[in-house]
Symmetry: C2
Subunit: 279 residues, 2 copies
C-alpha cells in the first residue's frame, strides 16, 4: 500500500492509473476506521481494479461549536487497517494542502441540505460537497463507495454528481452494526459505558417503525411518535426524527412513495444518527 500526502502527486498517480486502462474505486473517510469503513473498501475492491481510500478530517464541514479538534484520530491504526483490507493507495493530505490561502470556491447544495442534519448543522453539507468535489478531481475514481448510514450525505452527493456531471458512479453500501444494532460510527467512542448500553435504542426505534409500517401504518405522525417513545425511554435527547420523501427529502404526512425515516439523537458527548427507508 502506497501512502500519498500531496494532492498533486495523488492526481498524477490517478491519471497514470487511468491511462494504463485500470479503474479506480474510491472510499473517502475521515479516518478512525471501523468495520463500516472496511466494508466500503471491500465493495470498492469488487467493483474496481484499484482501491484508493482517503483519510481527511475536513475542517470545512465542522461548525464553530462542533468537534473538529476533538474528532478522534489514529493514523497508525488506520494505516494498518487499510493495508490489511487491501487498500492500494491511502491518500492522507494536510488541511493546508487541501485548502490553500485565499480559498474562495464552495460547492453549495440548496434543496436537500436544508432539512435533517443540515438544519442543525448549517454549512455542514457545503463543506462536505466542497471536499468531495475536490477529492473526486484529485483521485479521479470510476466508482465512489458511500455508506447508507449517512443517508442525507449520500443523497446530496448523488445530487452533486448528477448536477455537476462528475464522471463517477456512486455505490451505496449498507450500514454495518454492532450486535445490539448500533450503527458503527467513529463518534460511538464519545459514549459513556452507560450510554453505550442505551444507544441501541436508535436501531430498535427503527425496527419498531418498520414493524408498524409492515402492519399497514401509513401516518407519518404515528410512526414518528413510536420512534420518539423508544428514544425517550433512554437518556438520549432527540435532535430530530423525520419522515421525508426519499428523493426530495421533503416532509411527508402519509407514506405513499418510499420514505426516509432519519433520526439524530444526542447523548452527553455523542450525536448519533441512523435511518431506514420505508417502502
Amino acid at each position: 500500500m502506497k501512502i500519498i500526502n500531496s494532492p498533486e502527486e495523488m492526481q498524477r498517480t490517478a491519471q497514470n492509473i487511468r491511462r494504463a486502462g485500470k479503474t479506480i474505486g474510491f472510499v473517502p473517510t475521515m479516518g478512525y476506521l471501523h468495520a463500516g469503513h472496511l466494508s466500503l473498501v471491500q465493495t470498492a475492491r469488487t467493483s474496481a481494479d484499484l482501491v484508493v481510500a482517503s483519510i481527511f478530517v475536513n475542517p470545512a464541514q465542522f461548525g464553530p461549536n462542533e468537534d473538529l479538534a476533538a474528532y478522534p484520530r489514529d493514523f497508525e491504526r488506520d494505516e494498518k487497517l487499510c493495508r490489511d483490507a487491501g487498500v492500494d493507495i491511502l491518500f492522507y493530505p494536510t488541511p493546508g494542502d487541501m485548502y490553500l490561502e485565499e480559498h474562495s470556491i464552495w460547492v453549495d447544495e440548496e434543496s436537500l441540505s436544508n432539512v435533517l442534519c443540515g438544519a442543525s448543522r448549517p454549512g455542514h453539507f457545503r463543506g462536505v460537497c466542497t471536499v468531495v468535489a475536490k477529492l473526486l478531481n484529485i483521485v479521479l475514481p470510476d466508482i465512489m463507495v458511500l455508506g447508507e448510514k449517512d443517508a442525507q450525505q449520500l443523497r446530496i452527493l448523488r445530487r452533486m454528481v448528477r448536477d455537476l456531471n462528475f464522471p463517477v458512479k456512486i455505490i451505496a453500501a449498507p450500514t454495518i452494526r454492532e450486535t445490539d444494532g448500533l450503527a458503527m460510527s467513529s463518534r460511538n467512542k464519545y459514549l459513556t459505558p452507560a450510554e453505550r448500553l442505551e444507544a441501541g435504542c436508535l436501531f430498535q426505534s427503527l425496527e419498531k417503525a418498520r414493524a408498524l409500517f409492515a402492519a399497514g401504518e401509513r401516518a407519518a405522525g404515528n410512526i414518528k411518535a413510536a420512534v420518539r417513545a423508544a428514544i425517550e425511554a433512554t437518556s438520549g435527547k432527540v435532535d430530530y426524527i423525520e419522515l421525508v420523501d426519499d428523493e426530495t427529502l421533503r416532509p411527508v404526512q402519509t407514506l405513499e412513495k418510499p420514505a426516509l425515516l432519519a433520526l439524530a439523537v444526542k447523548f452527553s458527548k455523542a450525536r448519533l444518527i441512523d435511518n431506514t427507508v420505508l417502502q
Copy 2:
C-alpha cells in the same frame, strides 16, 4: 467535425479519447462566434490533439433583467466557423439537458466575484462557475483556453480550477480587436452605427492609461480619471472603472504590483467591457 448534443454522449466520447491516449483542448463559448473565439480555437489546436468547442447560452449566468432571450444566436453560421477553424467536436447541449429538474448544486466564488462585473451582475459568476464546472466534467479537457477579454472571469475560473483541483490547465489568449481597437464581442452587435464609431473609446482610454503608467504615474485616482474623461467624451456611460490588484482583485490606491485596469461602459443597448494589466 462531429456535433454532440447529449452531455452523456459527450462525456463518453471524451473518456474514449482520453483512453486512446489523446489530449483534449477545450474552448467554451456562448456562440455567435467572432475572430476572438476562433483565435482561442487556434490556441487549443496548437496545445492538444483534439479540439472540443461548446456553444451554450447559459441561463444561469444571466440576471432577471439581462439579455438572455435577446442574446444573439446563429448556430448555422457558428457551425460553419467551427468546422473551418478545425474544431473536431462541437458540443451543443440544450438548457434542459444541462439543468435537470430540481437542479440544486451551485459553485460559488466568494472573494473575486464581489467586485467589477460581479458587483453589477449579482449571481453572474455563480452561473459561470457552475456551468464551467459541469463542462469540465463533461468534456474532460487537458487544457481549456479562455480569453483575456473577460478578465474577471479568467481569474475566477483559475481560482475554481485551483480550489476544486480540476485536472485541467488554463491557457489565457489575448483579446482580438477591430481596427479601431474595439475588443471583439458578440454584444458589439447591439451598438447603433453611431455608437459603433464611438466604442473605440474603451480601448483608447486603456491606451491613455498605459501611456500615463509608462510615464511614471502610479496614483490609481489619476489613471482612472483619465480613463473616465476619455469615456465621457462619448455617449457611453461608465458602469465601472476600477484599478485592482491583479491577483486578489482588491482595489489599489498606488500601483506597486501588477494591477488590473478594468472597465465596463454602457451604450444604449450594449454593455461593453475591456481591460489591461499595468505592470
